[in-house]
């Protein structure tokens, strides 16, 4: 066992820290969030140049990293509340292509994604599906050699900036059946595809997508027809672990801000950090962040396990911890900041909002507790 970072990993961490320091001071982030697209071309170009867009992929998959390197980057991105669409593009989209795409798909998309020339979005959620990935009513029907896609997809992050959208559609089987799902790669400018764009609570961008008889060729299928569920399930598990790393970064930042605040804010003639009730709460924040970091590291180390159940349990376990710790640290930070904590003015509320949204992405704490429990009982 060895839990220390290699020299290369340390360098990556340093570079990411530098990026966040240079580009994501809180006032800068506010400006980035207010731009049309909600992220900056120059930041994206820099991420590409530093090779970060290939970090979620291993060398065997054509990239330069793996789960630990992804964890390192995402943690720093969490500290800065970075807005560039790294998760949908490099972690999820790139990951699915690398693991399930055809050689032709990889050739046309993967390299240009890593060069920063293509962005992705992933459309799996539907209005009724809640956290059930198999609850897909979006239809793909055979049309000549290809398919015609019709239906609605919701809360699709980065859809407005994406060049390609990966869509989960039902090609056979009944509602909520895992079999019968197919993943399609669709040109974001395809005819018949309309978007309703909006910002999210945490200053990201997402869209509702309506597909009205969007035609795609047979070569748009990623993986096998009717066989997308395991691809998507694995992609979500990997996205969860990356998201957990982002959350640990958020927690470190929000805890640091709170610690600083209670050391400096004076009431009753002393810094409020002199009051035991706040000291103990701060200790609980610290402990929660430690637990979150531990579970994230464990999940990052287990995510490549050949046994899919090990991967599933690790992802769900980490997500439960992140939900719990994120809520505790977020709510506590706001409370200890008093009125200032609920203003838009300080960064604290922005970390709190991001931590809250992280809990409800890809299944909340309750969902993953149930999933973990079922898996653990079965094994």
């Amino acid at each position: 066992m060895d839990l220390s970072l290699s020299d290369e990993q340390k360098q990556l961490q340093d570079a990411a820290e530098r990026f966040v320091r240079d580009k994501y001071a809180f006032d800068n982030r506010r400006k980035v969030a207010a731009t049309d697209r909600g992220w900056l071309e120059e930041n994206w170009a820099q991420m590409a140049e530093l090779g970060w867009l290939g970090v979620p992929l291993t060398e065997a998959e054509g990239g330069y990293g793996g789960p630990i390197e992804t964890m390192i980057l995402m943690e720093q991105f969490g500290k800065g509340l970075v807005l560039e669409p790294f998760l949908p593009t490099a972690v999820i989209g790139g990951g699915m292509l690398a693991r399930a795409g055809s050689q032709a798909q990889k050739d046309s998309l993967l390299a240009s994604m890593m060069e920063g020339k293509k962005q992705f979005a992933v459309a799996w959620l539907e209005r009724q599906s809640r956290y059930n990935l198999a609850d897909v009513s979006f239809k793909a029907t055979k049309e000549g050699a290809g398919y015609s896609l019709s239906g609605h997809k919701g809360v699709v992050y980065n859809a407005a900036s994406a060049d390609n959208i990966f869509v989960l559609a039902r090609t056979s089987g009944g509602a909520r059946e895992e079999k019968g799902l197919t993943l399609f790669c669709v040109d974001a400018k395809a005819k018949g595809l309309t978007r309703r764009d909006y910002p999210t609570q945490d200053a990201l961008r997402a869209s509702e997508l309506t597909f009205d008889k969007v035609s795609v060729g047979a070569d748009a299928v990623i993986g096998k027809v009717d066989g997308a569920f395991p691809i998507v399930e694995e992609a979500v598990d990997r996205a969860i672990v990356a998201l957990c790393a982002e959350a640990t970064g958020c927690m470190d930042a929000i805890n640091a801000a709170t610690l600083e605040y209670i050391k400096t804010r004076k009431q009753f003639g002393v810094p409020i950090g002199k009051f035991q009730v706040l000291q103990h709460r701060m200790v609980d924040c610290f402990t929660n962040a430690q637990e979150a970091r531990s579970m994230t590291l464990m999940a990052s180390l287990k995510i490549d396990d050949k046994d899919a159940n090990v991967r599933r349990k690790a992802a769900s376990g980490a997500k439960v911890q992140i939900g719990k710790s994120g809520k505790f640290c977020g709510q506590s930070a706001v409370q200890m900041h008093g009125g200032m904590g609920v203003t838009d003015e300080l960064s604290v509320s922005h970390y709190f909002k991001r931590l809250t949204m992280i809990d409800l992405m890809f299944g909340n704490q309750q969902h993953h507790l149930t999933r973990y429990s079922n898996l653990a009982m079965a094994s």
């Binding site: 999210t200 609570q201 009431q267 009125g339 838009d344």
Partner: protein
């Protein structure tokens, strides 16, 4: 003892309901049930209707123009209003400064200020907190210096709800900087139109604007508008805070919250059976709080003032409001993510992204974090109970 209502009380509830249905605007009701924010007009129109009926100052004794209701009537009134979707009565006039004026003010002040509060013709806001005086309220620095028959006031108040709507502000000001902290404070009413007052909005984490900074720069306020003696403002302040804490348990609103949750629970409970039990849990907390509040009110009806037990009610009441908001967000799932300010702050015909109850879910959860901070933070309330009730 008997929980059942007497026939006259049932008739009273029917009367309140009929009045509410007749006078509360459908647009305001729609805002309540869709979670959109009210504008000033929603509040003022409704409060003036209540005022005309003689019901706005429903907690006041008859002597000062209140209806002289008993505890049961007040309870029914608050519940019926909440059930029908009425906005909360803005407390700064009728619940806060009004009772201070009729308890500590002179006859001239009562005559001058009480009618406008009862009718809601005059809007009030609260000048208590300052940047350096939050939990430690007695540390306030806003200075009032006597100049003939006026005070000249300089300083800054903060977290002032509805200062941008307010006609008058009641302020705690320091009239004697040499006295012990609590002893140098006076309670002063100031016309918001007085030169030297600047209101700056504070935007909350959900994008809402309700609170403000209020800057006072050489503001001249007549000494005649001081309530009570100079240096005895802290007595008024404490009296008012105890009233405030009683009012912000928000039981009727939370009961409405439980009902609203049950209406949307079906979306969740199909895939997550634990959700219904989470609602049941908070439902029971609301019941315990309601019974505790009724017990406190019954004690008060026998002549007691709201005591430190009001702190316990505020503590639990705020936690319950937060929990309800949290569950409403949990119910929406990933559709809580779209930020839709148009659906929160404007009248719009747009259809929301996601279910109808999605747009306010996360913003409300964020915003409700304030409830364990304002009106005395939970930490302060616990200190009060610990010292005043338990003697620790």
């Amino acid at each position: 003892m008997d929980l059942a209502l007497k026939p006259e009380h049932k008739a009273f509830a029917d009367e309140v309901r009929a009045f509410t249905k007749k006078n509360l605007s459908p647009a305001t009701i729609a805002k309540t049930f869709s979670g959109r924010h009210y504008d000033k007009d929603d509040h003022v129109r409704w409060q003036r209707a209540l005022g005309k009926q003689g019901w706005l100052a429903y907690t006041w004794p008859k002597k000062y123009g209140g209806p002289g209701w008993d505890v049961t009537q007040r309870f029914l009134f608050e519940n019926v209003l909440a059930e029908e979707g009425a906005p909360r009565i803005i407390p700064f006039g009728v619940k806060m400064v009004g009772p201070v004026i009729y308890t500590f003010g002179n006859d001239e002040q009562k005559e001058r200020f009480l009618p406008g509060i009862r009718s809601s013709e005059v809007s009030w806001c609260q000048g208590y907190s300052e940047p350096g005086a939050g939990s430690d309220l007695a540390n306030l620095r806003t200075r009032a210096v006597l100049d003939g028959d006026h005070y000249v006031v300089n300083g800054q108040k903060t977290w002032t709800s509805y200062a941008h709507w307010g006609d008058w502000i009641f302020c705690l000001v320091r009239t004697n900087p040499d006295a012990k902290a609590q002893e140098g404070i006076s309670f002063l009413l100031i016309d918001m139109k007085t030169p030297g007052i600047t209101v700056r909005p504070i935007i909350m984490l959900d994008g809402a604007h309700a609170v403000n900074d209020v800057f006072l720069d050489n503001v001249r306020g007549p000494v005649a508008n001081r309530i009570g003696k100079e240096g005895e403002g802290w007595t008024c302040a404490k009296f008012l805070l105890a009233n405030e804490r009683l009012g912000i348990a928000e039981v009727p609103g939370s009961k409405r919250g439980v009902r609203a949750l049950r209406e949307i629970a079906g979306d969740v409970s199909a895939s997550d059976p634990s959700f219904n039990e989470k609602i049941a849990d908070v439902d029971l907390q609301v019941q315990a709080l309601e019974m505790s509040e009724l017990r406190a009110l019954a004690t008060m009806a026998l002549g007691g003032a709201p005591g430190p037990e009001a702190s316990s009610l505020k503590l639990r009441g705020s936690e319950i409001q937060q929990r309800l908001a949290e569950l409403a967000m949990e119910a929406v799932g990933e559709y809580a993510a779209p930020y839709q300010p148009g659906m929160l702050f404007q009248d719009t015909n747009e259809t929301p992204v996601g279910p109808d109850h999605a747009p306010p879910a996360a913003p409300r959860y964020f915003n409700m974090r304030k409830t364990t901070i304002y009106g005395g933070s939970s930490e302060i309330q616990k200190n009060i109970v610990s010292k005043m009730v338990l003697g620790l």
